[in-house]
């Protein structure tokens, strides 16, 4: 069968400098290379079209190079696109990892000061530099879904970065004792594997970042080193294939089975060490031949292996021998391989500075499974589907039917672009936003008055100090004022200038002047050195610099003129040189070199076992004991009937009951004896005005709000006064001494030592909660009340020492659980992606107070990402619904609104149409008035339809719901017009 194989191979000669890494963009339209530049590392982004089609190659209008970045100080060892294609990560010998993002709104432009006529067609800008490694970075890898970015280094460590929050570091994996030279993520996201010079391959868990397996046997014989050890995980997750391993003193690529990390098989045949292994992203099944009876065949994977012996082999896991071996494609070792997402094309790069493109046909590889089929394989094996991403991708091609929807989609893209973390992918073709405004002022206006407006001060030593005008807060945010835009403006200014100068133009005139007088050439040559020589002295004061060091004009050769040819050989290393680019482009020849097809030498030692579905252990560590620090109240009083502690009577005390207006209470017990009875004095100062009153018994505790004051006395009497000192209620006799007393607005809450709760509405002179027992919630011997509060709406809330918080719902006449600090849902719910940037988190509401800091929105959740998605989804959903219900029963309107929006956003993100529809229906209510309807137009004083108006834009962010969006948008419009 070997001889019948047909595939095309193109060779791209780039620079002659080593290319260490190549990676094809997920959309297949471009690819990145990383390697050595002139005096720096070089990352380049290339157009894929000229590689794929000869006519595009010849078409001069189609750019070949899209962008080049010289920012790395030393050789770039690895370039990798994020899975969503928005970011490019590069790692190099300068110990840095840089993350690049395309500046969407600018067209071709050159680097400032660059003489290059060849503009960068695309603008890729470094948005983050990740610094932690102390040695060369050898490999970088994005986790599935771009949650993390991993980098490994010759400093023996692997660093995991939080890709949603660069440059945050998640952890550093230590354990290798040699240079770590390769990384690969498990496609399921449960593991990451690394291979190092220490003769080991290690597998690490993503749950706790601990080592899962340490595989050393196949590497014990390995002698010598390779520059890289790029290992790879199969797309079905079942096999991990190492780089450089040895078997019977022959170099191999070791196959490691996920099941038990067994090492029974390997790819044999290369004559020198294997440097890179790369699995085809597709899973294949045998192509049905015409005429042959369709029989089900096992899906298989395809894997490319590159070696120091300059040859490349491609294997199918269903075949014993390699599908193809290509010798002598390169002059030096193969450094990296990248497959197209279609699985039919492959780029291979070599140390010799060339990149080859190989094209396969379906006949050779088989039929690739669709994403759905691939997902169902994942679902079968791991109980987890990776479908979310693929459906999102499909949705991006959905046509937007509703103009309102389009608006929200665009807003969403804009905000997504404003966020620095990898978020949702948005098309980059949004309308250019050149005339950006700041505070209603255009950049033009700002520039006109910049000199007048900018803040200039003098430092202590009399120096001028200018505070620059910040035109864009974050360098990663590429909206608004972009260098390209600025440059365009200045070009415009020049255009005007030319006009004013009349024919000939400013530029030309000055230029010619520069070259006119022969006498000036000498000085000009001398002047030239000034451009590049660093100042010898940098005094801070205005003074003439006098320095005799360095090149003086007299030292320089006295050529009358520099021959233009010479300029070709000289290169300005600091800025982009047009000459160099021209050379590169000339060299971008696509010599169709006929590769030698050799089918010898390759042999699979053991046939791949039939892939049998295996249920992975579902996440077992979802719930963890949660250590809580809660102020434990004093132990309960020894008296059996007194469940709750009581405050002791003090001789005198004072407290501030309200800040605005400022109200102070002062209590002095047993001030005077009148006819043998002891009187206590209560003094109150409100905004400087005082009143006082006398009570027949010692005051034990007092509380107040801006409206009312309440005091409880030793005789178990509760008295309530207005802010002016007028008694509002007759003295209330409590059954047992008071344990805690609260006032809020016009409500009074008394918690007694007998574990009963009462709440009164002083205005209405009514009881809201009538002597309710806490025994229902005080379960467990040691449980006691650690916290109690009364909301502005008169809802009593009790926090217990067991971490649970309850409120008594007067409408339901029962205790309701509103928060549980040990609740696993709280820890596992992950709704961070649903947090809106516009709404500040509610931190002062009763719900937030009771839940406290434990509500670290899915802190743990991110670590449990290997929790099956549906499980996490359900937990989050349950948690959010709990929050909503709690906010509702607490009558906390702001918190209700806050959680409602998060809930809606979550439903939108997760695509729960059924719930979303019910939510909308509830918020909209009946459109047509009917006599008997139970629907309340408001919830906690919030108009439900207003809430719906807030929810709709959120729904509009997901194209999938455009029908739903339109439906409710129309009905709202209808209602408004009524």
């Amino acid at each position: 069968i070997g001889s019948s194989l047909t595939f095309a191979s193109c060779l791209l000669c780039f620079t002659g400098k080593p290319i260490f890494s190549v990676d094809i963009h997920p959309d297949g339209t471009k690819f990145a290379t990383g390697g050595q530049g002139e005096d720096s590392g070089k990352v380049m982004i290339w157009n894929m079209a000229p590689v794929l089609r000869e006519e595009d190659e010849k078409n001069e209008n189609i750019p070949k190079m899209l962008c080049q970045m010289d920012n790395h100080l030393a050789c770039v060892n690895c370039v990798r696109w994020s899975n969503n294609g928005l970011y490019l990560a590069s790692g190099g010998d300068d110990k840095l990892v840089m993350v690049w993002r395309r500046a969407a709104f600018i067209g071709p432009s050159t680097v400032f000061g660059s003489s290059s006529k060849l503009a960068n067609v695309e603008q890729w800008r470094c948005v983050t530099i990740l610094r932690n490694h102390t040695g060369d970075v050898m490999d970088v890898a994005w986790s599935p879904h771009d949650m993390w970015l991993a980098s490994c280094s010759v400093d023996n460590t692997i660093v995991i970065w939080n890709a949603r929050k660069f440059p945050e570091m998640v952890t550093s994996l230590r354990g290798h004792t040699g240079l770590v030279k390769g990384l690969t993520w498990d496609p399921v996201g449960k593991y990451i594997a690394s291979q190092a010079d220490d003769h080991s391959l290690k597998v690490w868990r993503t749950v706790d970042w601990q080592m899962e397996a340490n595989i050393t046997k196949p590497f014990s014989e390995c002698g010598g080193t390779t520059h890289v050890l790029r290992l790879s995980w199969s797309p079905d997750g079942q096999y991990l294939v190492s780089a450089h391993a040895m078997n019977n003193s022959g170099p191999t690529a070791q196959i490691v089975e996920r099941d038990g990390w067994k090492t029974n098989m390997d790819f044999v045949g290369h004559r020198k060490a294997v440097t890179v292994v790369k699995f085809n992203p597709k899973i294949f099944k045998k192509k049905q031949k015409n005429g042959s009876s369709p029989k089900p065949s096992c899906p298989y994977c395809c894997c490319a292996v590159g070696s120091k012996d300059r040859s490349l082999s491609v294997w199918l896991t269903s075949l014993k021998r390699p599908l193809v071996v290509i010798h002598d494609l390169f002059d030096k070792s193969i450094m990296d391989i990248s497959w197209t997402l279609t699985g039919l094309g492959m780029l291979v790069c070599s140390m010799d500075g060339t990149v080859a493109y190989l094209d396969f046909s379906l006949d050779e590889l088989g039929d690739p499974l669709s994403e759905e089929e691939k997902n169902s394989i994942h679902q079968n094996i791991y109980g987890k589907s990776l479908a979310i991403t693929s459906t999102e991708a499909q949705l991006s091609t959905t046509i937007i039917e509703n103009p309102e929807m389009l608006k929200y989609q665009q807003e969403r893209q804009n905000s997504a672009q404003a966020n620095s973390g990898p978020g949702s992918a948005g098309p980059e073709s949004s309308a250019p936003k050149l005339n950006s405004v700041m505070n209603g002022e255009s950049l033009e206006d700002i520039r006109k008055n910049l000199l007048k407006k900018q803040v200039e001060t003098r430092t202590a030593d009399g120096r001028r100090r200018i505070t620059p005008l910040c035109i864009d807060r974050s360098p990663s945010c590429l909206q608004g004022f972009l260098p390209g835009a600025v440059q365009q403006r200045s070009n415009l200014a020049f255009g005007l200038l030319h006009h004013r100068q009349g024919p000939g133009g400013q530029q030309g005139r000055v230029c010619s002047l520069l070259l006119t007088s022969a006498s000036k050439i000498e000085p000009m040559k001398a002047l030239d050195s000034r451009f590049t020589e660093r100042s010898k002295a940098t005094p801070g004061v205005i003074a003439a610099i006098s320095s005799t060091a360095g090149l003086t004009p007299l030292d320089r050769p006295k050529d009358p003129i520099i021959p233009p040819k010479d300029t070709k050989t000289k290169e300005d290393t600091s800025s982009d040189s047009e000459d160099k680019m021209a050379v590169i482009n000339k060299n971008l020849t696509f010599g169709k070199r006929k590769p030698d097809l050799l089918m010898d030498g390759g042999e699979v030692v053991e046939k791949k076992k039939k892939g049998r579905p295996r249920k992975d252990k579902m996440a077992t560590t979802i719930t963890q004991p949660f250590t809580q620090t809660i102020r434990v109240a004093a132990p309960p009083a020894p008296v059996a009937v007194l469940k709750l502690p009581t405050p002791s009577t003090q001789k005198a005390f004072s407290l501030q009951v309200s800040m605005e207006p400022s109200v102070f209470l002062e209590v002095e017990n047993e001030v005077s004896l009148v006819a043998g009875s002891k009187l206590s004095q209560l003094r109150c100062s409100r905004d400087g005005r005082d009143w006082d009153t006398l009570l027949p018994s010692s005051v034990v505790t007092a509380a107040g709000s801006s409206d009312i004051l309440a005091v409880a006395c030793e005789d178990r009497m509760l008295s309530v006064f207005s802010s002016c000192g007028r008694r509002l209620l007759p003295a209330i006799q409590l059954g047992t001494p008071v344990s805690a007393l609260h006032c809020s607005a016009h409500f009074v809450m008394a918690l007694t030592a007998g574990a009963t709760l009462s709440v009164w509405d002083v205005h209405k002179q009514k009881a809201l909660v009538k002597n309710e027992s806490l025994l229902t919630i005080l379960t467990g011997a040691d449980t006691t009340v650690s916290q109690s509060l009364l909301t502005q709406q008169g809802v009593p809330v009790i926090g217990l020492s067991n971490g649970k918080s309850y409120c008594f719902s007067s409408s339901l006449e029962t205790w309701t659980l509103i928060a549980d600090k040990g609740d696993s849902l709280v820890q596992c719910a992950d709704f961070r992606s649903c947090l809106s940037t516009h709404d500040a988190p509610v931190s002062s509401g009763p719900l937030a107070v009771m839940q406290g800091r434990n509500l670290n929105a899915g802190r743990l959740a991110s670590r449990l990402s290997s929790t099956p998605h549906h499980l996490q989804q359900s937990m989050t959903l349950a948690f959010l619904e709990n929050q909503l219900a709690s906010a509702l029963t607490l009558q906390s309107a702001t918190e209700y609104r806050y959680w409602l929006l998060i809930y809606a956003r979550f439903l939108v993100n997760e695509g729960s149409e059924y719930r979303l529809r019910e939510l909308c229906k509830e918020l909209l209510g009946p459109v047509h008035k009917s006599a008997a309807t139970a629907w309340e137009p408001t919830a906690l004083g919030l108009r439900k339809r207003e809430l719906l108006r807030e929810v709709l834009p959120v729904i509009g962010e997901n194209l999938r719901f455009q029908r739903l969006f339109t439906e409710y948008q129309d009905q709202l419009e209808l209602l408004r017009n009524k």
Binding site: R464, R465, P468, I471, S490, A493, S535, T538, S546, P553
Partner: protein, 199 residues
Amino acid sequence: MAKVQVLNVAVLDNPSPFGNPFQFEITFECMEDLPEDLEWKIIYVGSAESEEYDQVLDSVLVGPVPAGRHMFVFQADAPNTGLIPESDAVGVTVVLITCTYRGQEFIRIGYYVNNEYTDPELRENPPLKPDYTQLQRNILASNPRVTRFHINWEGLADKMEDSENVDPSPNISSMLPPSCIPGKMPSLGLIPDNSMDCM
């Protein structure tokens, strides 16, 4: 990698009488918050013959510089004519904008400057003693020469690594004005002094 990238320099008030202040509108981007100020300088090269005649027209501190994109206008008084050799007053010279961080220069932007009389009479017969009031300064704004230096952004100047080795060689090609096609350039002697007429 340099933490500060100069994105654009616009030359304002150009051309202008010799005595007018220099004005450069500088746009730069900073990767991360800088704990220290940037120091910008404008240096006027009085004579090509010697650095002795260089004048630092002004130096300003620019800060604070948080991460992001910023712009400011750097204005500096015209050079002190008393310090310019009379023979170099008219003709081509250079103005430099440099920026240093923690005492280390990381970028140098150079422009050719042409000083000439606007009056044809004076141009034909320039006075022996330059009349600065009649001179016009013209900065070749379209052709900045930018040289970037690697510096140590984190630490002090003395920790700088081999900065001398990374100094780029001058890109002489960019000195050629864009309008002149190298191959067709006539030898210099043939170009008349007053080239404005011939263009």
